[in-house]
Amino acid sequence: MKNTLRWLGVFVLLAGLPFLLGNYYNDVYRKMLLWVTLALGYNFLFGIGGQVSFSHFAFYGVGAYSIVIFLFQFHLPLPLAIVLGVALCVLVALAVAIPSTRLEGFYLALATLALAQLFVVVLNEGGAVTGGTGGLANYRLPDIFGVHITGPWYTAVIVFVLLMTLFILLKLDRSWFGRACRAVRDNPEAAAAMGINVARTKVIVFTLTSALAGVAGMAYAFVDNTVNPPIFGLENAFLILFMVIVGGSGRHAGAVIGAVLLFLLPFFLSPLVGHHHVLVFGLLVLGAILVAPKGLIGAVDFMKKKFS
């Protein structure tokens, strides 16, 4: 009961804030929340599950495109479109993960790199279905029970997606499944000796986090009411990895810090370096790996210890 109230309190707080913000800041705010959602999922896959993947952002795109296509090209009802979108993410994730997690090594990293690259090609070449290079636009969220959700009210939907993702990941993390993922990350051979099916654990964690990314993508589809290929390219796939590394991989709070920081940084950097903030990100990541492998959250811990 107390727990439920706490979640509700956080929801009200996060969803209430945009009503105090103008249109522009509301837009920045909810995009930041989407990045946080993605980073939380990716942290579970990479930081806790120990798997490098470049397709997290592609699955975000699969979610976004699929809900738009199912709703407006195939004219399906919203609940069905959501279910089908998730199912599509799960199928693609299984097709990639089952072959590439059978062996030790970085096969999943490569396969997902190829998948992310291919995804943009499919979007560009998809003709009328995907709208080609221009993408799809001029649609709007169908009315739900006769209500058109928009502006700060739609931000509440995104807050819901974020908290749902966090809730699922926290529950999984504090269970045998979370421990199995960490065990597979730390020492696969010992994990197998403890009764853990290593390959299956990898496949499940990849599929699950990919599906969560897809759901976040569905929420994204109605933020700008347009989806187009350049957004879902490899740049952002790297960015999400960098967020988790800089924030502190394996820690939920680290993912949040990393996502907020790297999302907001370009706003401050662009007067200095134009659109080359990615160079700064690359240097940040290299620096983090070399001198602070526990990321910013590790530094926060260190400070706490020192001053308590």
Partner: protein
């Protein structure tokens, strides 16, 4: 003798042209400590890894509680109640001690992935955590449950290996040179722990290099040399067996040279 839990017949394992184990037969009963001894390269660890499913046997059979273990993957063997420790400590470095032990209980959780969000799984988690805490105390790491595993001493790491394996509620426990590198104090404690495990009715297969540790502890001893069994009997018989001491001391000298 107690009811046999593991029966190994005609086990053979080759690596390329090298024969590691040949025509090995032995059995372990419930609550029994079976020592397996032999010089380096005698095939002890190979036998062990074949039973645990890390290597596939070339011939022979290993039946655990009536079921053949060959063809099963390591995680399936563990789920059936055969748990192991490693010759070199292999902790899960990113987790505290207690969580390491709880990983050992992986196959004992009843809640499935889809009901992890439910309250019942939380109760199971709590119950399992209490069991794990009891095991941490049992092996003598009582106040280290929340410690970072990377801060443990080598000897504490050995004990963690055992606690982790016990968390899987094994009916057969495979211990791979648990005494290696321990201080005399730690050795005495370890012997007590292993006796305690056997008293719970768990079969223990104990590989050991050090005869002085093993002989007082084991109920029965199998001696390997060059991949073949050269003796099998009570510790007193082994101690008196000339062939054993010759083979053993001979190779000890060779190893020291």
């Amino acid at each position: 003798m107690n009811k046999t839990i593991l029966q190994v017949n005609g086990l053979c394992k080759r690596f390329g042209g090298l024969t590691a184990v040949t025509q090995l037969d032995f059995e372990v009963g419930e609550g029994e400590i079976l020592g397996m001894i032999g010089p380096n390269g005698a095939g002890k660890s190979t036998t062990f890894n074949v039973i645990a499913g890390t290597y596939a046997a070339d011939a022979g059979e290993a039946r655990f509680a009536g079921e053949s273990l060959f063809g099963l993957a390591p995680h399936q063997i563990a789920a059936r109640g055969v748990m192991r420790t490693f010759q070199h400590n292999r902790p899960f470095a990113g987790m505290p001690v207690i969580d390491n032990v709880m990983v050992g209980a992986h196959a004992r959780f009843r809640s499935r992935l889809w009901n992890l969000l439910a309250e019942s799984s939380f109760k199971e988690e709590t119950a399992m955590r209490q069991k794990a805490e009891a095991l941490v105390r049992f092996v003598g790491l009582g106040d280290l449950g929340d410690a970072d595993v990377t801060t443990l001493s080598f000897g504490q790491g050995r004990l963690l290996e055992i606690a982790r394996a016990l968390a899987g509620e094994p009916r057969l426990l495979l211990l791979d040179e648990p005494a290696a590198g321990l201080t005399p104090d730690e050795l005495a404690r370890l012997a007590g722990i292993i006796r305690g495990i056997a008293d719970r009715g768990i079969a223990v297969l104990l590989i050991e290099h050090d005869m002085h540790f093993l002989l007082p502890l084991a109920h029965r001893v199998v001696v390997l040399n060059f991949g073949a069994k050269i003796a099998d009997g009570l510790p007193a018989e082994i101690r008196a067996n000339r062939a054993v001491t010759d083979a053993y001391l001979g190779s000890e000298h060779a190893a020291a040279r």
